[in-house]
Amino acid sequence: MSEILVLVEHVDGEIKKVTLELLTLARTLGEPSAVWAGPGCGDAAKAKLAEYGADKIYVADSDEVVNYVVAPKAELLARLVADKSPAAVLVASTIEGKEVAGRLAVKTDSGVITDAVGLGEGFVADQSIFGGGVNVRSRVTKGTPIVAVRPNSTAPVAAAGAGAEEKVEVAPSEAARAAKIVERVKEEKGARPELTEAAIVVSGGRGVGSAENFAIIEKLADSLGAAVGASRAATDAKWYPHQFQVGQTGKTVSPQLYIAAGISGAIQHRAGMQTSKTIIVVNKDPEAPIFEIADFGVVGDLFQVVPQLTEEIEKRK
């Protein structure tokens, strides 16, 4: 079977769930090799990658790879593509993952497919386009297929791989060091699951009314072990930080369950959540367009409905 490179997404040495999903997917199509860019690939991380099927783990343990915007990661992958001739390269379809994929495609003169929600034999990718209105199956026809796969496209399943480590010496070229990251500013995060990866997302919009009131949304989220999201109206008003914005210019989420409270359902918001498996809506306006995509909707005041729902969930636990 042929080798498939999977770029590992990690934060502070922790592997993100989407990487385990990509390994699971890669196993159905070949032999996955994990590629770790940057420091922090400890024993626990390596064990986890092996547990989910990584046969090899390429480790480029250097600050240089992560201290510049995107380019060094693309260089690292391009080198591995040249050295190992993999059958495909998979990355997470996050805003940064897509940028890595784009540069890698140019470097290796290969086609790229973004926002795949599934991947099958011959690396044929499923895409859901035009706000979920059209389903497309597409594939790369030149070079090494580079596919950016959305988080939550498949369930991660463990199946041990050899997990053999191979160190990769890297020294990013001068061109790759042109945009230097001089500071990383972490805005509040909390203990909740990461927005794009969460199985359940609870989002609040303009209807929530204030930053303090977001506590109602957070309580519901916590009762379900969910991530919190927000509409642009809520992030623009600074009720919730921007990295929690769901939509066209925020995060694209595709959880098992999406609960929208006080959100009207503008096309730009829907673009970021329309592929959610189940959608619940709470809105006082029965004409709000978000009801069109709701599996279950309550026409009512969120200040009544949401706390009652939270209480009910706690009761039934």
């Binding site: 995107v70 897509k98 540069r103 290969s110 926002d115 026809t141 945009a179 500013v185």
Partner: protein
């Protein structure tokens, strides 16, 4: 400062967008074209930088003849001139060949700064700025929520999963913007009138030294194998809250085994 803003014409997101059954590309004739939303923010940022530092703002659009409408909109906002890269040979270009053709055009125009939106509303690949940076060998300053230029130094705040990164580089550079960066102005009546007289240079692929065999549908690096309208979502259950809306929602969650 010589600023080039990349402005894409996209179908109005409020209309139903379709793929053409014949060659499986986006049916751009069937729908009204508008300026890609984020590109208005890119134009606005270019205008603000010009106002602060002097220079000139050029709009670059690659697209069919019809795209002149949206070029005029960008000019009406205040851009000085435009280059319209248009050629039948470009129809059906994927991200690879689009970035190649646009990089060639940019080399011809010359630039200190290229500004793009971070994503289009039609294809949404979000790769173009990164690809241009790669092709032009210029620093990639993408996903910016803030841009500051000081002489030849440029700094941005790049949005990330955890907040933002402060990133520094030297001009010339490629920037892409997110909508947090500014509030785009509306074209004034004066601006709209002035736009009619502003120069729009038509560029064919030969003028931009674009190799015809490297663009268009035939040269694409990927193909749409098949497509179909998504099955409509089954109509949901909508209830009116009569004091028990939360309980009913919990019942629904229980029926779906979420609780």
């Amino acid at each position: 400062m010589n600023i080039v803003v990349c402005v894409k014409q996209v179908p109005d997101t409020a209309t139903e967008r379709k793929l053409r059954p014949d060659d499986k590309t986006l049916d751009r004739d069937a729908v009204d074209g508008v300026v890609n939303e984020l590109d208005e923010y890119a134009v606005e940022e270019a205008l603000r930088l010009k106002e602060a530092h002097g220079g000139e703002v050029t709009v670059l659009t690659m697209g069919p003849a019809k795209a002149t409408e949206t070029i005029r909109k960008a000019l009406a906002m205040g851009a000085d001139k435009a280059v319209h890269l248009s050629d039948d040979a470009l129809h059906g270009s994927d991200a690879l060949s689009t970035s190649y053709a646009m990089a060639q055009a940019l080399k011809k125009i010359g630039f200190d700064l290229v500004i793009l939106g971070s994503e289009s509303t039609d294809a949404r690949t979000g790769v173009l700025a990164a690809m241009l940076a790669e092709r032009l060998g210029a620093p990639q300053l993408t996903l910016a929520r803030k841009v500051e230029v000081n002489g030849s130094a440029i700094a941005i705040e790049r949005i990330t999963d955890y907040g933002y990164d402060k990133v520094e580089a030297t001009l010339p550079a490629v920037v892409s913007v997110v909508e947090k960066i500014n509030e785009p102005r509306y074209p004034s009546f004066k601006g709209i009138m002035a736009a009619k007289k502003k120069p729009v240079e038509a560029l064919g692929i030969a003028d931009a030294s674009v190799d015809a065999s490297a663009v268009g549908l035939a040269a694409a690096y990927s193909e749409v194998a098949e497509f179909a309208a998504a099955p409509p979502r089954a109509a949901g259950t909508i209830v009116k809250d009569e004091g028990d809306g939360g309980v009913k929602a919990a019942d629904f969650l229980a029926s779906k085994k979420f609780i």
